[in-house]
Amino acid sequence: MPQFKQFKDLSITFDKHPQTGDLLVVKNENAIKMSIQNLIVTMKGERFFNSSFGTSVSALLFENMDFGIAGQLQNEISLAIAKYEPRVNLTNVTVLPNYDNNGYDVEVEFEIKGIDIIPTNMEFFLERTR
């Protein structure tokens, strides 16, 4: 029987495990979600010697909020995941302006390659920060 390769990463919070005292570790689906979130909030040019890594989401969030910008955000997120997250097959990205809260509701749906399970989705809210 084929064995599924595990994904294992450090938690971005850098909290320690209450019992062992080691840094917290995230695995599989959660590791991938954290990686995607990290990718989306990284500005292009922010990473050393890898200027194309990341998205222009931060800049777009300071534009006037409308569906056009939502479309651009959707495009940015899709392209970044397709290029820098080879562990997933992206199935859908939805970005909708949330006028009441001055941000965008984002839903990303994807399948993890090599795992025969139902598609995974992650939802988060994008808002501009200084």
Partner: protein
């Protein structure tokens, strides 16, 4: 083991090495996501790799800056040159000597003084420049006229800086904060106090030889940002300054070579008598001064790297040819190239002499006064029994006639723009190649390649080479002339191989005549005023040795040359396109007299 690789200096390689390490050490499944750019562990790897890269770069940079050959920052290069006892040359102001008379009407003083800093002005290349004397110049007044002769003037603004010695301060430094200081114009006067009027003049010292505890000397040191610091004696080598002594330093700040070649001056200085009374009176310049020369930029980093070891090896004495070459560059910075040979190589031999051929920048040869100055300065380095002589270089000019073709559909540039590009590329090539120098070599294929590469739209070029020598005849005197091109001449071309600009001879005083070769014989002809056909006047005035590249003219009495200086230009077509110059022959590609024609294909 991958982690043992310590030679990676590239960020990506360092990061890959860290990944390899994790791969080799996480078999039990510790951390696996280092390959994915979005993962946190990948972020950490970035940070570690950047830290390593940063440290490696710094270490590499520091290691480079330790050595003269690899240092890149001027401050470090200057500092390393200091260790070799070499002080990089400052910017140098152009200078000339000038004669002028001051005529007094009525009561005249017994003597007239031109104060240091007093100036002449000149307009050169549409810019105004100020020329000053750097020391007071005195002359006596005879019959109401003060005759100032051979007054040395230098371009620059006269600046005075003063310090009061403060022994209680351990950090007092004597720094001249201005840029563009010509250090040869620095004068240091030390007064016992600020209110005292009598002073002692201090001299610059380059080394500690012959210095005592009472020597009135100072040392100059270039510090950061091309500024200079004066360092006075410590009471062992040179007199130590005492508390409250007042140090007055004067110098010129110059624009360097910008006004090289000026020779028209207007007086606007200050004339005084011995009592300090200023008088305004008529000043008339006598004759035409020699063109200003010697202006030069501050010594570049590359030149410091090249010259410092050579001057160090010369050890302040001129013995070998290389010593002379190094010291000439030190004495006269505006030197383009130097060639030195012993008098025993002359024909006939001149034992006990050394011949120095100096090609100055922006001029064909040195002025007589500059030669005298160089020889005077060279005396202290020379071996007693050897007499140095400065010889004018023989300049072999190369002129190009280039037809350049370009694809007009692949560029929006005009022919004129492409022509400018070609000239710029050629000048850049000549600046870095070994062409324009003594023993220079003109590589035809490199030049043709440079023209082709000047712009992507250039498809080809047809370039012809011709050589030119300028000679100055002895006017009104029957003379024998030998003009040597040092390269074989073409004998197969349909037209003449040798041709000259027009001149006038005693035999044909009413005609402008020309030289050309016909089957190895030099003839003189004129152009018929009506038909413009060549009319041979003298069918045999000399001959051409095509294999040696020599032209000999016999018993020719020239009364007027082609230009106001009586210069005559002789051009030849060489057999080979690669041109070599030997010995005192200086190779110079004359872009201004070359022709570049750009045509669409």
């Amino acid at each position: 083991m991958p982690y043992a690789q310590l030679n990676n200096l590239d960020f990506q390689q360092i990061k890959q090495t860290l990944k390899d390490y994790l791969k080799a050490n996480s078999a039990n499944g510790d951390l696996l996501d280092y390959d994915y750019e979005g993962s946190v562990i990948n972020n950490l790897l970035d940070l570690l790799a950047y830290n390593t890269y940063y440290t490696a770069f710094n270490t590499n940079m520091v290691a480079n800056e330790i050595f003269l050959e690899s240092a890149t920052l001027r401050d470090n290069v200057v500092s390393l040159a200091k260790q070799l006892g070499y002080r990089p040359r400052s910017i140098t102001s152009p200078s000339t000597t000038i004669d002028f008379n001051v005529v007094f009407e009525g009561t005249a003083p017994s003597s007239a003084i031109l104060r240091a800093g007093s100036a002449f002005t000149t307009i050169f290349d549409d810019s105004a420049y100020q020329y000053s004397v750097i020391d007071d110049v005195r002359t006596s007044v005879t019959n109401g006229v003060a005759e100032f002769r051979n007054v040395l003037i230098k371009e620059g603004t006269y600046v005075t800086t003063s310090f009061t010695v403060n022994e209680s301060s351990t950090s007092q430094r004597f720094i001249l904060r201005n840029q563009g200081i010509d250090t040869s114009t620095i004068r240091v006067r030390v007064y016992s106090s600020q209110n005292n009027t009598s002073y002692t003049l201090y001299q610059t010292a380059d080394n500690i030889l012959n210095l005592s505890a009472t020597s009135l000397v100072y040392f100059i040191s270039e510090i950061e940002d091309k500024q200079y610091e004066l360092i006075f004696g410590d009471g062992v080598f040179g007199r130590k300054l005492e508390n409250n002594e007042f140090v007055e330093i004067t110098y010129l700040t110059t624009t360097g070579p910008a006004s090289n070649g000026a020779n028209s001056f207007v007086f606007n200085g200050i004339l005084e008598d011995e009592s300090g009374n200023i008088f305004t009176t008529e000043v008339s310049i006598v004759g035409v001064p020699e063109n200003t020369s010697g202006g030069e930029e501050i010594e570049s980093i590359n030149k410091i790297k090249k010259n410092a070891p050579k001057v160090y090896s010369a050890q302040e004495r001129a013995v070998t040819k290389e010593d002379y070459a190094a010291l000439i560059r030190k004495i006269y910075p505006a030197t383009s190239d130097v060639y030195v040979y012993g008098g025993e190589d002359e024909m006939p031999p001149e034992y006990g002499t050394v011949k120095i051929v100096v090609k100055p920048r922006n001029a064909e040869s040195l002025t007589p006064s500059t030669k005298r100055q160089i020889l005077e300065n060279l005396k202290k380095y020379s071996v007693a029994s050897v007499r140095p002589f400065i010889v004018d270089p023989s300049i072999l000019y190369i002129e190009l006639t280039s037809n350049i073709f370009y694809n007009s559909s692949s560029t929006t540039k005009t022919s004129e723009v492409i022509r400018s590009l070609v000239i710029e590329v050629l000048e850049n090539y000549l600046a870095v190649s070994e062409t324009e120098k003594f023993n220079g070599k003109f590589r035809y294929s490199k030049v043709v390649g440079s023209i082709d590469n000047a712009d992507a739209s250039i498809t080809s070029n047809l370039t012809q080479v011709r050589l030119r020598k300028d000679f100055y005849p002895i006017v009104n005197t029957p003379s024998y002339y030998e003009i040597c091109f040092q390269n074989r001449l073409d004998v197969e071309c349909d037209t003449s191989t040798v041709y000259s600009t027009g001149f006038v001879t005693r035999e044909y005083p009413n005609d402008t005549v020309y030289l050309e070769d016909r089957d190895g014989v030099m003839v003189i002809y004129k152009l018929d005023s009506q038909t413009k056909q060549k009319v041979v006047l003298n069918p045999d005035v000399g001959y051409v040795d095509y294999s040696k590249g020599e032209i000999k003219l016999f018993n020719l009495t020239i009364i007027k040359g082609s230009y106001s200086t009586n210069k005559i230009e002789i051009r030849v077509i060489p057999r080979e396109n690669d041109i070599l110059a030997k010995r005192e022959c200086y190779l110079d590609v004359d872009i201004s007299k070359s022709t570049f024609t750009v045509r669409p294909e």
